[in-house]
């Protein structure tokens, strides 16, 4: 099937405070998850990936690096472990963004999956090189769940940017 660009709607410009709020909420969601739930997706990676695809001028590798350091301290992982994974994730997402946005949502999710997996594998490689144990296969289940969540996530995060379908100049809002 030839992909078309007809499904994309013309969006309002993004509000910066909304981007920062979603990043903060992603961080809080990550803090909330107990350690025993290994398969829960890395929310901040997903949100970061989303904004790197949509708004790569605003959210880029600098943000990825800072958020990665915060996650390193919060998870008491090796300092720089999340940072490296997120920076690579943000770079790949922003380079591929022109291509990814051309596809319908389900196929976008297929593009996102390898990016998130790469981020997870980078972290595993760093820790295995440092002599830690294998985390178990549920560790790699997170990106798959996150990729499935890409479709609802896109609707949720683009909600403030949608124009009403029927424009009515007399409507107050």
């Amino acid at each position: 099937m030839q992909p078309t660009f007809t499904s994309s709607r013309i969006l309002l410009p993004v509000k910066p405070w909304f981007v920062y709020t979603t990043l903060f909420l992603g961080l809080m969601l990550n803090f909330l998850v107990p350690a025993s739930w290994a398969a829960v997706p890395d929310w901040i990676a997903l949100v970061l990936c989303f904004w790197s695809v949509r708004e790569f001028r605003r959210i880029g590798m600098g943000w990825a690096f800072m958020l990665g350091l915060v996650m390193d301290v919060a998870n008491s992982a090796a300092l720089g472990q999340h940072a490296l994974a997120y920076v690579v994730l943000a770079y790949l997402a922003s380079t591929l963004s022109r291509r990814i946005l051309w596809f319908p949502l389900a196929q976008q999710a297929l593009h996102i999956l390898p990016l998130l997996l790469i981020a997870q594998i980078i972290q595993a490689l760093i820790r295995l090189a440092a002599g830690s144990g294998m985390p178990g296969w549920t560790y790699f289940a997170g990106p798959f769940i996150a990729a499935v969540l890409w479709v609802p996530f896109t609707y949720l995060l683009l909600l403030p940017q949608y124009r009403p379908a029927e424009q009515d100049p007399n409507r107050p809002i």
């Binding site: 961080l27 809080m28 969601l29 990550n30 803090f31 909330l32 998850v33 107990p34 350690a35 025993s36 290994a38 001028r57 880029g60 590798m61 600098g62 990825a64 690096f65 990665g68 350091l69 915060v70 390193d72 301290v73 919060a74 998870n75 008491s76 992982a77 090796a78 300092l79 720089g80 472990q81 940072a83 490296l84 920076v87 690579v88 770079y91 922003s94 380079t95 595993a124 760093i126 820790r127 440092a130 002599g131 830690s132 144990g133 985390p135 178990g136 560790y139």
Partner: protein
């Protein structure tokens, strides 16, 4: 003409090229984790970030914690009464030995002094509450609610009601991080209670421990209790660590594979007791101190330096 070889001003300000930025950040993070994992010398940066992150993390976990507290509150009256009766019975069980403990300790001290032995160190420390387990899937660590503000330092041993839980490995202002004995990088020197055999026990992850480097014909059986031997100068001797669960003797290998289970409730998180760091160290035997002195003399005149480093290290504790 003056302006001809000047580049025109850029239409859009875009900053450095993405590839340049990527290589900069990748280099920065690689430098960070190499320094962190190898030399442990970026703790200041970690603590600075932790000052901001710790309160946020606690805030995020408040709802879950309060739901747990509510569930505790809503538990039935008779369940509490049962628990109370059980605790009372348990206290009665240990009452006879506990009542004589003080007397025995005093007697032990007296006898040790008679024999001219060093007095045993008494355990002291503080109680801390476990807040959560860290989300790092590669290690087994928990976070306790006491940190640098009450004088906890890295290296202090941690026990619970039944045995050794782990060791404090990192301290921030309000929290301290405890590496469990089941972590793959945690090693505890132990002694078998039944016959006094000494060895070290390694964490395996997954709630198990392994007693390594014991010969295949070592006298060790299933159900043997392992207690800390105190040889490391960190753990006081005599705290239960693990019980031998399975012994596999295979003549193809030089060592037996001995899997143990921790005695303490290592993977359920309740209150723990953080022991003060050991202050008294066992002095080295006289022959060894003589040897060291001789080597020190030797080193003054140019000669091959002998590997006396480990001895010095254990002395410094």
């Amino acid at each position: 003409m003056p302006g001809i070889d000047q580049a025109p001003p850029p239409f859009f300000k875009r900053g450095p090229a993405p590839l340049a930025l990527l290589s900069f950040y990748v280099a920065a993070s690689i430098a960070l984790f190499v320094v962190d994992l190898k030399y442990h010398s970026v703790d200041l940066l970690r603590q600075a970030i932790a000052i901001v992150v710790d309160p946020l993390q606690r805030l995020a976990q408040t709802p879950a914690a309060s739901i747990g507290a509510l569930a505790e509150y809503a538990r039935g009256m008779d369940q509490l009464q049962q628990e109370n009766a059980q605790l009372r019975r348990a206290r009665l069980d240990i009452a006879p030995s506990l009542a004589r403990l003080l007397h025995l300790e005093a007697e032990n001290d007296r006898l040790r002094r008679l024999l001219d032995m060093k007095e045993r160190e008494k355990a002291s420390g503080q109680i801390a509450r476990i807040l959560f387990a860290t989300r790092d899937p590669f290690s087994r660590r928990i976070v306790a609610d006491k940190g640098g503000q009450v004088g906890i330092v890295a290296g202090q041993p941690v026990i619970d009601g039944s045995g050794v839980v782990g060791q404090v490995t990192r301290v921030s202002l309000l929290h301290s991080e405890i590496t469990l004995i089941t972590d793959k990088n945690q090693i505890v020197p132990v002694q078998v209670v039944r016959n006094g055999l000494r060895s070290v026990v390694y964490g395996l992850g997954g709630g198990q421990l392994e007693l390594r480097y014991l010969p295949a014909n070592a006298d060790i059986k299933e159900g043997d209790l392992l207690v800390t031997s105190g040889l490391d100068g960190i753990f006081l001797s005599g705290f239960p660590v693990a019980r031998v669960k399975r012994v596999e003797r295979d003549s193809a290998y030089a060592f037996a594979r001995i899997v143990c289970e921790p005695v303490a409730a290592v993977e359920n998180f309740t209150d723990v007791f953080i022991l003060s760091p050991a202050t008294q160290t066992t002095p080295l035997p006289k022959e060894l101190t003589d040897q060291i002195e001789r080597k020190a003399e030797k080193r003054e005149d140019p000669g091959p330096s002998a590997p006396d480093k480990p001895i010095k290290k254990s002395k410094g504790r």
